[in-house]
């Protein structure tokens, strides 16, 4: 027992890594799914344990040196409150979507590829967890590649429903690779200056660097990293890969991606901007927050407008994700406590809300065979629980009180007031109204029309294996809308330590 306790940080990555590779050997039946559920469940349990250990120890962070190599030579895994929280979100949502995936994948992916699908699926979760837990900049890149390559494959698996999944995947592959190589270049330049790959070490070396503000190499590293990260987290206008990828990926994959992939990219930005460069360099000496904020404001408005004009619900929600990412970016680019806390809270809140909504859309794909608004018409009476989940999630996107979305917006507005940015508040309110419009389009189709599609006419409620995970996530979004103490306390503490410059 003691052994597990001591190795928790690395087990979070090793268990899904080995478990994922083993999934490919599980044959064709339900076994790959069962195994993947077991692995992700175990991983989730490990992250819970990790969080409990961290809170119990009272230390600011837990450091783990892989293979007992000193951290400046080997790889350090380092867990503080922030990434323990993100690990919990990623592993938890990963576990719940794996349960959900069974029915959806059985319907959408040919049977002989199930073992491969779940292999790639678990490895993707592994990569995302690895990025979050590691304290080594190069390790970040390696795990980023693992998660990216697996995600490209996952998206391409949507090809049996729609061939466009292949081009969507290719598009993401090209843009994602550009982003990843920008990140790699940035890390390389940083290593040139600091001579190390350990994040904490980098920070110390950078602090010692004379005339950091005008250090050309550092500035170039900063620019490459920021653009690469913006691409990976789909910050407007570098979001061009996202709508197609979300639209054509298999339903379960969309739910997983929407809830985790971009969020981990946001976490990476936290690490680089606050941890390595430090908030002072990133936000006070350089006006980069203005560029980020501009992207975020444009993102809120234009992606919501794009969402409004979509006929495909998956694509509508994909554009809405771009808008929601923009809120997250707006929060941390304020670089004050409430703003950063708003970002961290919204990472969680949006993960559960949007994950649950994409699950509901996936259930429609299963029952009706399509995910356009015309397929959704009149489903309010035929799939009441699924549509209620979609509606509650939609209210969360608008930021209705008593949903989690309200809490995020509350802190974001507080942060904007602290920074004296009244314009941002106006944008947030405008964004809420636009969100109301696109959510209303769904509600209108669902509740105020008679079914058009013959399959919608005799659709039945989604299977219980979909309803339970879907309502777990939506239920969480409601629970943390009412009792936000855990999320907001964690986020405020994490925000404090980020702004203190802790790596």
């Amino acid at each position: 027992m003691l052994e597990i306790q001591a190795h928790l940080p690395v087990l979070v990555v090793v268990v899904p890594l080995i478990g994922g590779v083993l999934t490919s050997l599980m044959g064709r039946g339900a076994l790959p799914w069962a195994w993947a559920t077991l692995v992700t469940g175990a991983t989730f349990a490990l992250t819970l344990r990790l969080m409990a250990t961290l809170l119990a120890s009272g230390a600011p962070h837990i450091s783990y040196e892989v293979g007992n190599w000193p951290r400046w030579w080997g790889i350090e895994y380092r867990v503080d409150l922030l990434n323990a929280f993100i690990l919990l979100v990623v592993a938890g949502v990963g576990f719940i979507t794996t349960i959900y995936a069974k029915e959806s994948v059985a319907d959408e992916i040919p049977r002989d590829r199930h073992n491969l699908f779940y292999t790639v699926w678990v490895l993707a979760i592994c990569g995302l967890l690895g990025i979050t837990v590691t304290g080594d900049a190069f390790n970040v890149y390696v795990l980023l590649e693992i998660s990216s390559l697996t995600v490209y494959a996952l998206i391409a698996m949507g090809k049996d429903r729609n061939r466009k999944a292949l081009t969507a995947s290719l598009r993401y592959l090209i843009l994602g690779s550009v982003g990843a190589s920008f990140i790699l270049l940035g890390i390389g330049y940083l290593m040139m200056v600091t001579g190390t790959l350990n994040m904490e070490d980098m920070r110390e070396q950078l602090l010692r660097t004379p005339d950091l503000d005008h250090h050309r190499t550092v500035l170039v590293a900063f620019a490459f990293l920021l653009v690469g990260l913006s691409l990976k987290m789909a910050l407007y206008p570098l979001h061009m890969w996202l709508p197609k990828a979300y639209t054509y990926a298999p339903s379960a994959v969309t739910a997983l991606l929407a809830a985790t992939a971009t969020k981990v990219a946001v976490y990476m930005s936290f690490r680089f901007l606050f941890g390595i460069f430090g908030p002072e360099f990133s936000f006070q000496r350089l006006p980069s927050h203005l560029i980020l904020l501009a992207g975020a404001c444009l993102g809120v408005v234009f992606s919501s407008l794009s969402a409004i004009r979509q006929q495909s619900v998956k694509r509508l929600l994909a554009y809405s994700s771009v808008g929601q990412i923009a809120y997250i970016v707006a929060g941390f680019s304020l670089a004050n406590e409430n703003g950063v806390a708003a970002s961290i809270i919204h990472i969680f809140n949006h993960a559960v809300t949007k994950g649950g909504m994409f699950m509901a859309v996936g259930a429609v794909a299963l029952r009706v065979g399509g995910t356009d608004l015309k397929h959704m018409r009149g489903l309010g009476r035929r799939m009441p629980l699924t549509m209620a989940a979609l509606t509650v999630g939609g209210l969360g996107l608008v930021g209705f009180p008593l949903t989690a979305g309200f809490i995020s917006k509350w802190y974001l507005i507080k942060g904007a007031l602290d920074a004296g940015m009244w314009g941002l508040i106006a944008i947030v309110l405008l964004g809420s109204i636009l969100a109301l419009v696109y959510v209303w389009k769904i509600i209108e189709a669902v509740y105020f029309h008679e079914p058009e599609d013959p399959r919608a006419r005799d659709a039945t409620e989604a299977p219980i294996m979909m309803l339970v995970p879907m309502w777990t996530l939506i239920g969480l979004s409601l629970y943390f809308g009412v009792d936000a103490n855990f999320t907001s306390d964690t986020a405020l503490r994490a925000a404090k330590s980020l702004l203190g410059g802790a790596p």
Partner: protein, 587 residues
């Protein structure tokens, strides 16, 4: 001892109600819940202190504000009457939604801070929208969509105002920025509502958000649009809560704001004009809600103790007689399926109970002596007279005559008497009759024994002398004169009214006969302008929004919404990189 907001009994009960099926258990429960709420309201101790933590805030959901008792009592009572009237209705979600709506209204009256108030305010919007939709017709669906759009936009405006206000107070170092403060914006009149400085926008936003719910023109056309489309029983519920909660909030926050005197006068006149032009019997009554709420808003604007007492008492009396009138109209609709005045008439033969109850309601709304309307409305007029506010007094008096015309005589006359329509419906089922008789009894009982009502007003009598003596000889005589003369005018004008009802009402002629020139030269342009503005804001916005959202061909022409090619995406990425590099090197 009750240590939770009594409204929660209704709100949570509403969630249980659908599980009980449609049998006698559910019916008994639906009558029990409002009574339990009423009992709970009266069992809350005077020094109740309950706090809920939410985020880093301390919410106080159980506080006695000055007008709380009178509003919470009538809201619970109304929920009971409505439930009794709705006992035989077959729709599954209407009653739970109505209870959620009524319960939230009760919760609003107990809110001790502005955020709790806002949360229940929004819950009311949701509940009432579902009640409108429960009408079940395509018109109800559309009206409900417009209704919810208006209320959500109003809610966002209110929220923005509340946030701006709370943060301004917080920045100013006020200890408890979310607390509800009496007369927060009131006593300074226009001073508090000035445009000087950005921080001062908050009271305006709050005021606009509340006035949307008070149905003040030009923000208030949702009322007459949506209420008549609900079911017979749904309209009865709807008439009671939204506007009166708005009156409650205005009374707490804006008492004495001079602007409200004019807003109230506008509402009183607007309601009459449209009620007289209308042919749908329930829409007539819906417009007269606007007119009656105008009296209350006006009283709040005057802001003296007498005026506030009058506004609260009038809200109490108004809920009862308006519900009674709508029950009477609802019974007619239920039994005949017809709602236009021109299709009805002569029903007094076969619906005597409905007719008598309708007439009692009509007398009460006209403030006939010995009915509830008389003991409440005269306080507002008295307050206007005491304050030497001549114009408001004149308008209120004229509007009183107008009320008698449209709601007091026009509704019963065209529905129950007039020509014989040939319809021979019976009186409605027992529960509807029981609900009407109960409320009719209350109308008369309050008119005769008004003391219990006066005792729970925001400013009860302190000394031995009574708070207000409504039955002085001069009051009675002047009110009877007013009523009799306008009654006479109605019957003299009847040929014109009748003829025009079948074609179109000659609006200008009618008004020149009444207020020579005044209407055409002064009021109508204003009302038209406001109506146009309202159309612009709500209808056009919705139309444009719909056109924009559905025009895919249009979308393809706007480059920003087009799917970017991979090449342009790469160029854009490179461009952003350059921006960062240049900013980095130049800073």
């Amino acid at each position: 001892m009750i240590e939770f907001p009594p409204g929660l009994i209704l709100v949570l009960g509403a969630l249980i109600l659908p599980l009980l099926g449609r049998g006698p258990v559910m019916r008994a429960f639906s009558l029990l819940l409002p009574l339990a709420t009423l009992a709970a309201v009266w069992m809350v101790p005077g020094d109740a202190q309950v706090t809920w933590s939410f985020l880093d805030l301390e919410l106080r959901p159980l506080v006695w504000n000055a007008p709380t008792r009178v509003f919470a009592t009538i809201f619970s009572l109304m929920a009971f009457g409505g439930a009794l009237f709705a006992l035989n209705q077959p729709r599954r979600v209407e009653l739970p939604a109505a209870f959620m709506y009524a319960g939230s209204a009760v919760c609003v009256t107990f809110a001790g801070d502005i955020l709790t108030l806002f949360m229940f305010w929004e819950l009311m919007a949701i509940g009432s929208t579902i009640v409108v939709w429960s009408g079940g017709t395509p018109e109800a669906a559309k009206a409900g969509q417009r209704y919810v759009a208006v209320h959500l936009v109003g809610g966002v405006v209110l929220m923005a105002g509340i946030l701006a206000h709370v943060f301004a107070l917080k920045a100013g170092g006020v200890a408890d920025p979310i607390a509800l403060r009496y007369f927060e914006f009131g006593p300074n009149g226009f001073d508090a509502l000035s445009f000087a400085g950005a921080g001062d926008i908050a009271p305006w936003l709050i005021l606009i958000g509340v006035l949307v719910n008070a149905a003040t023109p030009p923000l208030g056309s949702w009322l007459a649009d949506a209420y008549p489309e609900a079911s017979e029983s749904g309209t009865v519920f709807l008439s009671a809560f939204t506007t009166k909660t708005a009156v409650y909030v205005l009374m707490i926050l804006f008492a004495g704001t001079e602007l409200l005197i004019y807003a109230g006068m506008l509402m009183a006149v607007y309601g009459i004009v449209y009620a007289i032009l209308e042919n749908d019997m329930r829409r007539i009554l819906a417009y007269s809600i606007v007119n009656q709420v105008g009296f209350m808003v006006c009283g709040i604007g005057i802001g003296t103790e007498m005026a506030l007492n009058g506004a609260a008492a009038h809200a109490f009396a108004h809920i009862i007689y308006k519900a009674l009138l709508l029950m009477s109209a609802g019974s007619v609709l239920y039994m005949t399926g017809k709602r236009k005045c021109t299709d009805l008439g002569g029903l007094y033969h076969t619906m005597p109970i409905t007719m008598w109850c309708g007439i009692i309601g009509a007398l009460a709304i006209s403030s006939f002596p010995w009915t509830s309307g008389f003991v409440s409305k005269s306080m507002i007029s008295q307050a206007a007279a005491d304050g030497h506010l001549f114009l408001p007094w004149m308008v209120l008096t004229a509007a009183s005559a107008g009320v008698f015309l449209h709601a007091g005589i026009k509704f019963p006359w065209f529905v129950f008497f007039q020509k014989d329509s040939g319809l021979r419906p019976k009186d409605p089922p027992w529960n509807m009759k029981a609900a009407m008789l109960l409320f009719a009894f209350l109308c008369v009982a309050l008119g005769l024994g008004y003391q219990p009502l006066y005792d729970i007003l925001p400013y009860p009598a302190t000394g031995p002398e009574p708070l207000y003596e409504p039955y002085s000889a001069s009051h009675i005589v002047s009110q009877l004169q007013l009523l009799l003369w306008s009654g006479l005018a109605f019957f003299l004008l009847l040929p014109i009214l009748k003829r025009t009802l079948t074609i179109t009402l000659d609006f200008d002629w009618f008004y020149r006969a009444f207020f020579p020139g005044l209407w055409r030269r002064a009021l109508k342009p204003v009302v038209d302008l406001l109506v146009n503005l309202r159309d612009l804001f709500f209808d056009e916005c919705i139309k444009v929004g719909r056109a924009v959202t559905q025009a895919d061909a249009l979308a393809a022409q706007i480059p920003i919404f087009r799917e970017w090619s991979l090449g342009s995406a790469m160029v854009l990425t490179t461009f952003v990189l350059f921006v960062y590099l240049i900013v980095g090197f130049l800073h």
